[in-house]
């Protein structure tokens, strides 16, 4: 604690005063009766006295009827500013404010709570006011007396101890502060080191530090980060492994489907080929059938030729017979001519009556027979005529049939050609449709891919934009963080000292430590008083303390020096170590006071450790700010890049859905897989290839259709001719059949032959009868008649025979004509047969039959089977496409996942985690070790070290010994800090006797040493009001030096009327109220107080 300023109004003899204190040594000087002690009292009252206390009655102004008011500002150990204002008298009043900077104040508490709060802030062993048994008046305790004690309380301080306090807070504070005083330097060094390391790792309460600067936290955070990264990566790896296994299965599934699909396609190809073969076989079979029909026609023609030839042969027979008959007729005519001559002879002989009558009867009988024969002959002739007519008509019918056969063959050929052309047309139409679908598919697929690419680009664009937003947000966060960190860093370094200065300070601190350690040697002074005397002791250069009235032996132990002042009789100083080292230490301390304190003040800190901590924190903050700035920059660059990428991707457009649908509709019903396969096989020039294919097939189709029209026309013509021939055939057949029925069964030729034979027989019979008649006439009419008749008959027979000759000649001519006709028919038929070229037709038939045989037997393949197979392929293709898509998706995910790369990173991370865990463990063990060491050191110290009295005896005894130049070697305090004895020249005096034995001045000095030691250890302000008035100049010099040294550790307010005891002449203010010289502030109270006569500086 240290005071900032105090304001006093109407307080006893002071009308008003305002004093601002320096952090080090403050010499407040003024003449007697100026009010120095009043000011001191005011400070004490502000901190300790409730305003309504009766003890405040005396604070009333001497000049006016105003209430005394004191306002005191001070800074606690945590650097918090406090301002307390108390108005004494009557109802009084008090209020407490706090502030972080001493400028802006915030009300804290007021009234009764002010005292309670002050007791907490200043743990000096004073209980809160009020309650039963509460002290009246100004509360006192060991520490309140030590730090703010009034003039004349010297004895009280040395004789009283902590056991007189009414609260334990003073003991606790002192125990904490004094414990380090009793330590061995080496122990202290180790403890300080352990404490320093402990502070790095732990808070004051012993919990591990968790801030960003904590090394364990850093190591732990690193482990956590690496483990978190590993967890993410592990998941990724697991996903990748799962995906890899999935991809393997999908690949196998796809391969199985591909094999099945391939087998099915092969099967379809085989079936299609079989179907094509069947179609080709059908065409060829039809062709063979037509050729066979043609061949049958030819064979029918040959048959007709044979029958015609037979007819010709028959005719020739008839003709020969006719010629024979003609020859016989002609011979018979000659014979009959001879018979006429014979008859005419016989006439001449027989021209008598009997003979005439008999001849007439016989002639009449013969005439009847002849008449019958003539009738018969007429019938035979008519019938023969009919038969011959039928024969002629039959020949004509045969000719018609030959024509039909020929027409039928031609029509069959044309029909086959039509069937072949139709099949070819269908195939070409399919090809054209396929080519068109292929073009449409290609265009649809290109458009679809463009659309997909555009969609992907849009998605990616959006993702990039989102990412960019995140990065920009990150950048802003990092910038803000960087600014805050930089500001904090700058704030911590404000007013900071340079690195060189800092190094100088560290070096100086180390030198002081070394110099102090070098002084160590150990001194034990035993004071054994022969009578009760008062002893003041100072140990190891610390301010002297009053050991009280010594009665028994008093032992002082010191590291370096003991000073004893026994009553005012003698001063003893016992010192260890070489004088040069002592001088060296003193010089170094002075140097510290001169150089280090202002620098620390400039840096706004009270200790080097605090400065170190601030610098480390500032550096850490600055580094963190740089990191944050770098991260912000990186995030900005990333955001910019993402924006650009988003813009580029977002600009890509694809075809519309309508366009796609239109293009897809143009593909038609063909299976997509087949199209995709073809499309894939065409490669990049698919469009040209597909267009060429379509155009080529369309041209082929057009040509085919032209040819087919011509074939159709010819076929129609032939069909019409065939129909006409068949009609004629039917008509002829019908007529022939009707007439044929009337002729009875049997062959026409045979019938004709029979008829002609009957004709000949008839003719012969007629001729015999005629001859017989003539004979009878000749015989009946006797010679004459018979002769005449014979003549007539012979003449008639001769005429008849002449007729017969004529008839025979006619017959010969007729048969000759018929023969000519039949021969013509036969020639025509043979010509037809020759034209038909049976050999060529048979060759054609053989060729066609060979082709048919080559095409194998008829197939069992049906369209339904092919369609079923195609449907199966379609299903398999869909399954394959689905499996392929799934596989491609998995592969895509795998490609993103990184596969072995992720595993490699995982291994790296595992190693890094092991190392980080080792580092964390190392840090943890180190931290635990330092904590354990510190705690164990303290425990050992508890066991080994002395009580508080011994601790206080070290600085007090050392100082006292030094002050008294070794007269008093040490001072002994009891555990409650009551002075027990001083050790003087080997005599150990103890108890009040010793203290009593000391002079007033020496007791005053010893008490001052105690107070300074306490203030230094507590780092608390100390008020010395007209102390050391009984001290000689030499000791005053010593005290002056001591106070200047101690002023580096705590604030000192020295009220004195003799400033020259502490200040060099140059340090005194001249015209101004105060003057600062390094850590010393000289304050001319006469210039800051009113209501008192002005004084001048001595």
């Amino acid at each position: 604690m240290r005071f900032s300023w105090v304001e006093v109004e109407w307080f006893k003899g002071i009308r008003s005063a305002r004093v601002e204190f320096g952090p080090g040594l403050n010499i407040l000087f003024g003449p007697n009766d100026l009010g120095k002690s009043t000011l001191s009292t005011a400070i004490r009252a502000a901190l300790l006295l409730p305003p309504t206390s009766s003890a405040a009655d005396g604070f009333k102004s001497w000049f006016v009827d105003e209430k005394a008011t004191v306002t005191l500002a001070f800074i606690d150990d945590t650097e918090m500013h406090w301002r307390v204002k108390k108005t004494f008298g009557g109802s009084g009043g008090s209020q407490l404010w706090h502030s972080k900077d001493g400028q802006t104040w915030t009300a804290n508490v007021k009234g009764r709570e002010v005292e309670e709060k002050l007791r907490t802030l200043l743990p000096w062993g004073i209980r809160s006011p009020g309650g039963k048994g509460a002290p009246k008046g100004l509360p006192e305790s060991f520490l309140s007396n030590a730090l703010l004690g009034e003039q004349g309380q010297v004895d009280g301080l040395l004789r009283s101890g902590l056991d007189g306090d009414d609260a334990e807070s003073g003991r606790l504070a002192l125990t904490k502060a004094l414990s380090s005083l009793a330590q061995d330097p080496l122990f202290k060094k180790v403890l300080n080191l352990a404490q320093s390391e402990f502070d790095r790792y732990f808070t004051e309460r012993g919990t591990r530090r968790g801030g960003k600067s904590s090394e364990i936290t850093k190591a732990s955070d690193q482990v956590k980060k690496l483990q978190s990264d590993r967890e993410v990566l592990q998941k990724s790896c697991e996903q990748v492994e799962t995906l890899t296994q999935l991809a393997g299965r999908q690949r196998e599934e796809r391969a199985t489907l591909a094999t099945r699909l391939s087998a099915e396609r092969e099967r379809l190809t085989a079936l299609t080929a079989e179907m094509e073969r069947a179609r080709a076989r059908e065409g060829i079979a039809a062709m063979a059938q037509a050729i066979r029909a043609e061949l049958q026609g030819i064979e029918a023609l040959a048959t007709r030729i044979t029958s015609t030839e037979k007819a010709i042969a028959a005719l020739e027979t008839v003709h020969e017979a006719s010629k024979t008959a003609l020859d016989e007729a002609r011979k018979s005519r000659g014979e009959r001519a001879a018979a006429v001559e014979a008859a005419r002879e016989r006439l001449r002989s027989a021209e008598s009556g009997d003979a005439v009558r008999k001849r007439e009867l016989e002639a009449a009988q013969l005439e009847t027979s002849r008449s019958k024969l003539r009738e018969e002959r007429q019938k035979i002739d008519a019938r023969l005529q009919q038969v011959e007519q039928l024969q002629r008509e039959s020949s004509a019918l045969d000719a018609v049939r030959i024509e039909i056969s020929k027409l039928d063959a031609e029509e069959g050929q044309l029909r086959s050609a039509q069937a072949v052309a139709a099949a070819a047309e269908k195939t070409l139409e399919q090809d054209v449709r396929l080519a068109e679908s292929l073009v449409a598919y290609g265009r649809w697929r290109s458009a679809s891919e463009s659309a997909e690419a555009a969609a992907r680009a849009r998605t990616a664009s959006k993702q990039c934009a989102d990412e960019a937003l995140k990065k920009e947000f990150e950048a802003r966060q990092h910038e803000t963080q960087a600014a805050e960190l930089a500001q904090k860093s700058t704030g911590l370094l404000a007013g900071a000292i340079s690195d060189d200065q800092f190094e100088t300070l560290q070096s100086l601190a180390r030198q002081i430590e070394v110099a102090e350690a070098a002084l160590g040697g150990g001194v034990t002074v035993s004071v054994r008083p022969r009578k009760e005397l008062r002893l003041r002791t100072a140990v190891d250069g610390r301010p002297a303390v009053d050991a009280g009235l010594l009665k028994g032996e008093h032992i002082l132990e010191a590291e370096r020096a003991v000073q004893l002042e026994i009553d005012e009789l003698v001063e003893l100083e016992v010192a260890a170590g070489a004088p040069e080292q002592r001088r060296n230490a003193t010089e170094l301390k002075k140097k510290w006071s001169d150089t280090a304190s202002p620098l620390l003040q400039k840096a706004g800190v009270t200790s080097l450790e605090q400065l170190k901590s601030n610098r480390a924190t500032a550096k850490s903050l600055a580094d963190a700010a740089k990191d944050a700035t770098a991260k912000a920059q990186q995030a900005k660059i990333a955001a910019e890049s993402l924006r650009e990428r988003s813009r580029l991707l977002g600009g890509q457009t694809g075809p519309s859905a309508e366009d796609l649908a239109t293009k897809e509709a143009r593909i038609g019903q063909l299976p997509r897989e087949a199209l995709a396969e073809l499309f894939k096989s065409m490669g990049s020039s698919w469009e040209t290839q597909a267009e060429d294919l379509r155009a080529h097939k369309a041209e082929e189709l057009s040509e085919l259709r032209k040819g087919r029209t011509e074939t159709d026309r010819k076929h129609a013509e032939k069909s019409a001719q065939l129909a006409e021939a068949k009609r004629r055939e039917a008509t002829a057949e019908a007529e022939l059949k009707g007439r044929r029925l009337s002729l009875g069964d049997g062959d026409l030729e045979t019938l004709a032959k029979q008829l002609r034979a009957a004709q000949a027989t008839n003719t012969s019979e007629q001729q015999r009868l005629e001859a017989l008649a003539a004979t009878r006439t000749s015989e009946a009419n006797s010679d004459l008649e018979a002769a005449r008749h014979g003549v007539t008959a012979a003449e008639a027979a001769l005429v008849d025979q002449g007729n017969l000759v004529t008839a025979a000649e006619a017959k010969v001519a007729q048969t000759s004509h018929q023969l000519g006709e039949q021969s013509g028919v036969a020639r025509a038929l043979r010509q037809q047969l020759q034209d038909a070229n049976k050999g060529a037709v048979e060759q054609r038939l053989q060729s066609v039959e060979e082709k048919l045989a080559a095409l194998g037997p008829e197939t069992s393949v049906t369209i339904q089977l092919i369609e079923m197979t195609e449907a199966g392929i379609e299903r398999l293709s869909a399954e394959y496409a689905e499996a392929d898509q799934a596989y491609q998706q998995t592969e895509g995910a795998l490609a993103l996942g990184g596969g072995p790369m992720a595993a490699e990173r995982l291994r790296q991370l595992d190693e890094a985690i092991l190392e980080a865990q080792a580092r964390e463990h190392e840090r943890t063990i180190d931290a635990d070790a330092w904590k354990l060491l510190r705690d164990t050191l303290r425990e050992a110290e508890q066991v080994e070290s002395a009580h508080l009295g011994n601790a206080l005896a070290i600085p007090v005894g050392t100082g006292f010994s030094e002050l008294t130049k070794g007269k008093y070697r040490s001072v002994v305090f009891d555990p409650n800090l009551k002075a027990q004895s001083v050790v003087m020249d080997g005599v150990h005096e103890s108890g009040d006797i010793v203290l009593e034995a000391l002079s007033v001045g020496t007791k005053d000095q010893l008490a001052t040493l105690v107070r300074v030691a306490v203030a230094k250890q507590l780092k608390s302000a100390l008020v010395l009001d007209d102390q050391l008035v009984h001290t000689d100049g030499q000791r005053l010099d010593w005290f002056g030096a001591l106070l200047r040294t101690v002023a580096g550790d705590c604030q000192l307010l020295v009220f004195t009327c003799r400033p020259q005891d502490y200040l060099r002449s140059g340090d005194l203010p001249k015209e101004e109220a105060m003057k600062d010289s390094g850590a010393i502030r000289a304050i001319d109270l006469a210039r800051v107080m009113t209501g008192a006569p002005r004084t001048t500086a001595p």
């Binding site: 180790v190 990748v240 795998l894 790296q908 190693e911 635990d928 070790a929 354990l932 060491l933």
Partner: protein, 382 residues
């Protein structure tokens, strides 16, 4: 190679791979990480110097040249600078691998980087690059287009057709079924060179120099390995392959070491071994994983600590070992034998030592107590 064979050589190639520029080494200290990162670019000077010294006709870089698709600009700039120093006409083929595949945001698509590459550098971007190497040879190169894949990259290389008597070289990146516990990535058939009619198949992925298959069948298929190792467990890293191909199209492969750093794993179990290690003079170019397993009395323990500090270095002192990964948790202090130093201590510290020795007997506090004793002895050392 005999002089006759040398005369007969018609094509010389330098084959390298797996530079892994920009790779981080998170298990090392910051200083070690920095050194190891920079070693990857430093070694490239030696790689290209080897190419220059042997006057090769082309340099084939078989993938994983960067550790990730889009590394920091520092690494792409470093590569560009190394290449810019060469005043070459011989082509250098940079092949994207699975670590740095040819994806959209990869370094290969970075126009600034591409602009900074000299004209003799050719990044393989085609699905299949077919590039003549003079009149009598042709190179077929297939880049990786993703981080992982199950297709053999050599399948895209057309087989040799009858009458083609040129020297045919393949350049791909992938695994030949040696990825251990991981699924094979970009699998390359062991007889891919034969199937594709290649006279030499240059591949990358594995970090150690290796013939594939190991019986060294002709034509050779080679992993040159990483020019600088990336891990302790790698077998025979640190090389490039010099390939000489003669008129008969026979390829002869010469393994050349280019690495600056050598990686070692050492375990010391006694002070003598540690002293011997500290006395070695070749440690500056070593990356060492040092495991210490020994329990020592205080003076020896202090010496061991000092030696380890010498090896690892301190803020004020350079490390003896180039890069050290120290596992010293096995170095234990024999607390029952703390030596004469304790006798000289003041009583309070002796008491402290005694208490800590007691605590060192309990399993829960053993480690901390041993370490505390160590600190105490260090702090009170004369």
């Amino acid at each position: 190679m005999t002089p006759h064979e040398e005369e007969d050589v018609v094509l010389k190639l330098l084959h390298t791979a797996d530079w892994h520029l920009g790779r981080d080494f998170p298990s090392f200290t910051e200083d070690g990480r920095r050194k190891l990162r920079h070693a990857r670019t430093d070694v490239l000077e030696k790689v290209f110097a080897e190419a220059e010294r042997n006057a090769v006709d082309a340099v084939l870089c078989a993938g994983d040249l960067f550790d990730e698709p889009a590394p920091s600009h520092d690494w792409s700039n470093a590569l560009a600078q190394v290449l810019q120093k060469r005043k070459w006409t011989r082509p250098v083929f940079l092949l994207p691998g699975n670590h740095d595949p040819l994806v959209n945001d990869s370094v290969w698509r970075n126009q600034k980087f591409r602009d900074s590459l000299p004209s003799f550098v050719r990044v393989v971007e085609e699905e299949l690059l077919e590039c003549p190497l003079g009149d009598s040879a042709v190179l077929y190169a297939v880049p990786c287009r993703s981080k992982a894949g199950q297709e053999d990259p050599t399948r895209l290389i057309p087989p040799r057709v009858a009458g083609d008597n040129r020297i045919r070289i393949g350049l791909v990146h992938g695994s030949t079924f040696d990825a251990g516990d991981w699924q094979t990535n970009f699998p390359i058939s062991r007889d891919a060179a034969v199937q594709r009619g290649l006279d030499y198949l240059a591949i990358g992925d594995t970090h150690g120099f290796r013939y594939v298959p190991p019986d060294r069948l002709i034509p050779p298929t080679i992993y040159p390995g990483a020019p600088e190792a990336t891990a302790f467990d790698e077998v025979d890293p640190g090389h490039v392959a010099l390939v000489f191909i003669n008129r008969q199209r026979r390829a002869i492969v010469d393994k050349r070491r280019v690495a600056e750093w050598q990686w070692e794993t050492i375990t010391v179990k006694n002070l003598a071994s540690l002293r011997a290690l500290a006395a070695r003079t070749d440690l500056t170019s070593r990356v060492i994983r040092l495991t210490v397993e020994m329990k020592l009395p205080a003076p020896e323990h202090q010496e061991a600590v000092r030696l380890l500090e010498e090896l690892a270095g301190t803020e004020a002192r350079h490390a003896k070992v180039g890069v050290l990964q120290l596992r010293a948790e096995g170095l234990a202090l024999d607390v029952s034998n703390l030596g004469p130093q304790v006798d000289e201590l003041p009583a309070v510290l002796k008491e402290t030592v005694r208490r800590l020795q007691e605590l060192a007997k309990a399993p829960d506090t053993r480690e901390a107590a041993e370490r505390a004793l160590f600190h105490l002895l260090q702090a009170t050392k004369a």
